[in-house]
């Protein structure tokens, strides 16, 4: 409910928004690359990455508890001063541009490779960005209310596919768990820590929107959402492994491929379209949250009173960036997401978060003596 002009959401709504952001496109995109890296140990990689996510979320909630009404930029100004904040914000913004552009590009690539082969990718990307920009302009209250309904569609579709695929599962495909030792598992953990767990840092920009009376309840909700997210990703990964076995790593949109194999007495088949819809909806939701946070960060950094003013230009920049990411280059798109993105996220999200955390602890120690 809007209070004094500022939009607010409840702790439960924020937790659902968090789950959407973390699970969004990753439940459909994650299993393939992680299995390719870690083979049968992919689920262990996800557990390790989730442990990293728990540490990051602890830092996020610690900072939120200490500075409840402040976003990352405001906390930075209080704790480390405006110049270091500007430097950290630039890194943060660079990765947010990449996330916004990347998610929408993934939708375009998926549609182009599986459903609409004749349609030019830029047309799909332009339409998606227009849709996302309009949603972002509606504000966090509208976004949250709408997304709660949409996430139900995604969760239902994925659950349906996981359950209906039971007859295709072969438990023996899960063994051996570590065919090539632990190193591939760490590579999988590194990739999945980068996408999606490290990205949870962006919620430092959204937590100030929680209603004042819900401040104390949000911690439990966020951790619950993180664990449900890890469980969802592991379930999707195990399903892919049990369905395709050694070939699982070669499936790019693995849940889509798992759904393709469902054939129950000729009455229930070709339900992969539900996963297709889920991928588009989930990616749209995640990209909306990313663009919203991007506009918020830029507005706070440059003291722009209304973040809606910058939404359209930011969507335009993200659109062009997504097209630029498609060019043939030294590091291809898949390699960029799998290997460069985790390190990028480390500088853009983890370093700023821990800088503020350390500064917050130092301030806490200094306060009683001063």
């Amino acid at each position: 409910m809007a209070m004094g002009g500022k939009q607010t959401v409840s702790a439960t709504q924020m937790s659902i928004l968090f789950y959407i952001f973390m699970t969004g496109s990753s439940i459909i995109n994650i299993p393939g690359p992680i299995i390719e890296s870690a083979k049968n140990g992919a689920w262990i990689s996800l557990l390790i990455a989730c442990a990293g996510g728990v540490i990051l979320l602890s830092v996020v909630t610690h900072l939120y508890d200490r500075h409840p009404g402040q976003c990352l930029i405001e906390m930075g100004r209080t704790l480390v001063g405006p110049w270091i904040t500007a430097l950290l914000a630039l890194l943060f913004i660079s990765c947010l541009f990449h996330i916004s552009a990347g998610i929408v590009l993934d939708i375009g690539l998926f549609l182009n490779s599986s459903m609409m082969r004749q349609t030019e990718i830029p047309i799909m990307l332009a339409m998606m960005f227009a849709c996302i920009a309009i949603t972002v302009r509606c504000g966090i209250e509208t976004i949250t209310r709408m997304f709660v309904l949409l996430v139900a569609v995604v969760v239902f579709s994925v659950l349906l596919v996981l359950v209906l695929s039971i007859e295709n599962y072969k438990l023996s495909f899960l063994l051996p768990i570590l065919p090539d030792g632990w190193k591939p598992v760490w590579l999988g953990a590194w990739s999945s820590f980068g996408f999606p767990f490290q990205e949870l840092a962006i919620f430092t920009m959204l937590l100030p929107y929680i209603r004042q009376e819900d401040h104390k309840r949000v911690r439990r909700g966020l951790f619950a959402a993180l664990f449900v997210n890890a469980f969802s990703l592991i379930a999707a990964t195990l399903s892919t492994l049990m369905t395709f076995g050694p070939m699982a790593g070669e499936r790019k949109y693995s849940m889509f491929e798992v759904a393709r194999l469902i054939d129950l007495g000729e009455a229930l088949q070709r339900i992969e379209v539900m996963i297709g819809i889920s991928l588009i909806v989930a990616s749209y939701m995640k990209a909306t949250i990313a663009l919203y946070v991007l506009s918020l960060t830029i507005a706070k950094l440059f003291n722009i009173p209304d973040e809606r003013l910058v939404v359209s230009p930011l969507a335009l920049i993200s659109f062009v960036l997504s097209l630029l990411a498609l060019r043939p280059q030294e590091v291809g798109w898949v390699e960029l997401v799998q290997y460069v993105h985790p390190l990028w996220g480390m500088f853009a999200f983890t370093v700023p978060l821990f800088t503020l955390y350390v500064a917050s602890l130092v301030r806490k120690r200094q306060r009683p003596t001063s």
């Binding site: 190193k183 230009p313 920049i317 062009v320 097209l323 990028w344």
Partner: protein, 44 residues
Amino acid sequence: LLAIALYLGAKLIFHTSWPDLYDMVNAVIGGPARQIAKALKTTP
């Protein structure tokens, strides 16, 4: 912001070699990122 959009748009349309976000990121952390991936990859 519009200037950045125009710059990127010009780069895209005219296929210039002007640096964009991805070029800069690749130049700065592309090497170390690939080193990490290489170190963790196994060749059975």
